[in-house]
Symmetry: D2
Subunit: 345 residues, 4 copies
């Protein structure tokens, strides 16, 4: 009978895993129990952000030293979802999700993971990716023992963004390919959870029909990713009680009530926070012009993370918030979602 634990740990720099090493060496966490890591590094969050690779390399070296597995084997089994960019009030940190066997029989917060097959460049942002993600969500739910889609709180996906310049790719614009990959993964999650009708989840609707979205999907994409790595959180029988996850949509960037609703849905000691959002492509928020999309000097996603992160951090009273931009089809246009993990008290 599994029991999920969440540790939220600081890092002094993107290669610093000393806090996790101390937990392992202190006997408080078995390296072999680590099932997923979700974190924020202080890179720029864009194409030339290498802090994600540096952290992942350092993490897998540490886990390898304590499990005897090779870094490559661990990388193929343990999803490590990183988002670069700790603009403004945000603080670099990572959440370690571990699962240990316990003897109690209860209903509690469950976690399941799955890796799809490797996606060739020509499949990214296409029907093949939508289907692969939908299937991986079902496999991960099944692995966690989550009985029905209503019990799923959040699906976090790390999606491949392809390699530049492949003529077979749907586009040769690397930023657009990243967005298409996020969109396809969001569609896949939406289909698996019943939030998007399968017959509507068409390739042509990606980045086009924004009425289609899934407010329980949180997607990031990266060029270093090979397949779709899926982490499902939800309630399931046979998992130790005590942890909970609350999710709420944000209708726009200033939706303070939406943020507060997510915290109210997961009362207790906060163990981790995930938020997604995006600069409103209309160029306006509640009728007022914003300037995120036309700034030559600061990337729009860096603007977005600084703003969204500060709002969520102000409600949490804590800058350790996983905020990621690129929320295509993960909420209404210009909006997003907030997910709070808490220990019930």
């Amino acid at each position: 009978m599994p029991s999920l634990a969440i540790h939220r740990l600081p890092m002094a720099h993107p290669g610093d895993l000393s806090a996790l090493a101390a937990l392992i060496e202190g006997g408080r966490l078995r390296a072999a129990d680590v099932r997923a890591v979700i974190g924020k590094t202080e890179g720029n969050g864009g194409l030339n952000d290498f802090t994600r690779g540096y952290f992942t390399q350092s993490l897998m070296l540490l886990l390898a030293a304590h499990t005897g597995d090779t870094p490559a084997a661990l990388t193929a089994r343990v999803p490590c979802v990183l988002s670069g960019g700790t603009e403004g009030a945000l603080s670099p940190h990572y959440m370690v999700f571990s699962v240990a066997d316990t003897v109690t029989t209860q209903t509690g917060l469950a976690l399941g993971t799955d890796f799809s097959l490797a996606m060739p460049n020509e499949s990214i942002g296409r029907a093949a990716q939508i289907h692969a993600v939908a299937e991986a969500v079902q496999v991960a739910m099944s692995a966690a023992g989550i009985a029905c889609v209503a019990d799923v709180a959040l699906v976090q996906v790390k999606a491949p963004a392809g390699r530049g310049g492949d003529p077979a790719a749907r586009t040769r614009d690397p930023k657009l390919l990243m967005a298409l990959s996020r969109a396809a993964a969001a569609f896949g999650v939406g289909v698996a959870l019943g939030d998007i009708a399968p017959e509507a989840a068409l390739e042509n609707a990606l980045l086009s029909d924004y009425a289609l979205y899934c407010n329980r999907a949180s997607i990031s994409s990266g060029v270093e990713v090979i397949c779709n790595e899926v982490i499902v959180f939800g309630r399931a029988k046979g998992w130790a009680a005590g942890l909970t996850a609350g999710v709420a949509p944000m209708r726009d960037l200033l939706d303070l009530a939406g943020v507060q609703a997510a915290f109210q849905a997961a009362p207790g000691e906060v163990l981790g926070v995930i938020a997604k959002g995006e600069p409103d492509v209309s160029g306006r928020i509640r009728g007022q012009r914003h300037t995120m999309l036309g700034d030559t000097d600061i990337d729009a996603q860096r603007h977005l993370r600084g703003a969204l992160g500060a709002i969520v951090a102000a409600v949490a009273g804590d800058g350790r918030v996983f905020v990621s931009g690129g929320a295509e089809h993960q909420g209404p246009p210009g909006g997003g979602l907030v997910c709070v993990f808490a220990r019930e008290v």
Copy 2:
């Protein structure tokens, strides 16, 4: 008997005064009644932000065309306080404060202005500037008929930052000279309002003794400024009722309750919002590391404005917030203040 009006207007770009022109041409505002303008332009807010100068030139040309005064005469009489940087959720806008004669006798929100003598480079960030600002605050209070310092809501100062490379200046680092100028002006306001004891307001305490601060001072500095331009807001007899100003301190960047307190102190229709804050120089907010001060690619003040602006905008439900960094001695270290102007309903 004067009556204060506040118009909050959009701009399409930093040279766009069309919204004010429309008010004047439509007979809704007399150009000669304009007493002060406070606004946010979409520049980078730093040394090489020229959107402030562009807006000011455009404003004065417009007022000159309608008043018959020269742009130079208007510039010497109408404070125009601009802060560059509309990061994240912020929206470029400006508040026009105008005063018209009315026939009612009431107590209401009053405004007074004063310009100190020109500050030579060697006076900036020194006792001479502290005294000049303190005196200008008293003149402006007197002009507005504000009877006692307890009735002052906020003092906004636009302070000179000197010209680079003057050997007589206290420092040749232009950013430091800007900070010293803000600090000296904050001391001047604090002394005038009784928030800082005159005997403590010493040159050596500037940027050094952060226990000294005035939570009703909002200071910006710029190299294009020649003297200390002071705008005092407060309650006074003989001013038409109906407008109010609420001010509250922020103890740190995540002080959501502080922001909410300012809005509660000025119930009604919000006409304008001013906020000041700064990246905590300790490198931490509530114990968690932030990365604003060590980012080679995004200026710390741009980080700060994006974060603080989003929090205040989320409470306001509106991105039209005047947010300015550089809050030395204008609140506790790492903290700041929020001032809300509202029409009572």
Copy 3:
């Protein structure tokens, strides 16, 4: 009989026209003789660079004060081509081209200008713009008395970039629309000069068939521009001798010999330098990977101007070089051109 003069003047900031004012007030230049201004301001050179508008407003105010014309009339008659971005070794400056009557009959460097009709958004980046520019080049040549296309040294065009969000526009991506406008203008120049066959200069070839280019076209585009403003430089009878223009192509960014060839083609005292280039879209220069196109923190054009500007400035021994990115169809892919104005000695 006209005589062309070129003054290269410094600016302390984008609103500083004091050097030109001094020339006019000192009787060294008649304001009414000013035919065109080409300059570099220290903005970021992108969508949110307002230094161009600030300089233009300030220039037209100065000329209006000395000519009696309105700023609007001057703006519609005197092309003012500005490029933002003085990265690296570059120095903010502007070149004032003035034409005075003289009594000598010679052959020399001539200048002609023309403004096309206003371009509606739906014409930008389309055949209509190609034709409008081609026609304007012919009008400007004729005005200057340049007899044949072989005598044209350079055509500088300031092209309209449309207003965002117009559904009738060829694209709603503002950066792409700017590029399409530059491309169409380059095609127009190429057709007018015989460097591109009219039957090849098709709308579909814009930003597509890079074998089509004109090495005597230097195009910039801006959202503040209404019509195509064309400046033609070349040799013509009836113009005073003494000035010369040398132009040479650059085959890639590192083509030092190309830069040197332009200077050798215009021996004497250098009066001004114009250079165009672009980051090689292949991602490589002479086989080595460059990182200009994938930097989240520095815009590719800022990278390009810093690099190209330094190379040209090193050959010139002077940072006053007009360097502008966005060289689509103005040279081979990844390459560009250099034009040197000199006084023969």
Copy 4:
């Protein structure tokens, strides 16, 4: 009898050592022969550039896998000098310097290395560091068998920059401490090579008396560095002939002749290029204002590297140039140096 080899290798990203791995696995280079690595990664080159740490970790893992040494032991023995920032025309790459035993007895290019003792924070930018570097240079010369200081071509030093916030440090400004460390190391090299008189190399002269400099010192500093890591290049007996190093000073950023002199001093096939420079703190280059030091959006060193790198790359015809800013006391103010490694042909 040793023989020096230089391999200049591309990297696809800062963790990509595949080109070196291929050389080792192909038998073309013994991992145990690697004596030093000098490279450029595509980070921002500032305080929050983690590409240096990522590359170093990846390099040491590779060498460890092939030598049996631990990464820690290799890090303490093999200097790995990295500079972040491949702005403009620059290309990410690294130079691997390896030394193998051969049987010929000749005079050729020699390499020696030494690591000083660890520097506590309070020693950085002080006399202790000057002396430690001077001594390390002598040890490295001796190790290489370089008989006299006139035979030294270049000394590359990687100097410690201390840890932030130590009250014992000479300053708590981390950027200033980095500069002081570079300055002290330059003094140390200058003293060791006789370019700076020992009695002049005083702590108070650091960053103050810019008449003191050593044009054969190339220094970088980083917070991840513990001690002074010194690499000396020069001519010595007992080293295989065939390689040469040419060094020349640059008097300012536009000193094209200086760059060309370095290439002329090392004729043949270019194997690597090192350049140092800095933005002129006077704010002018040859009398014209530059804007590198006051740009809020692009760091001055990023401006500098883009400009200097392009000039050197244009002469080399190759973007693989190691360009590093922060040239305090490594050349005249505003100037720098260029060093070219070549295989004689």
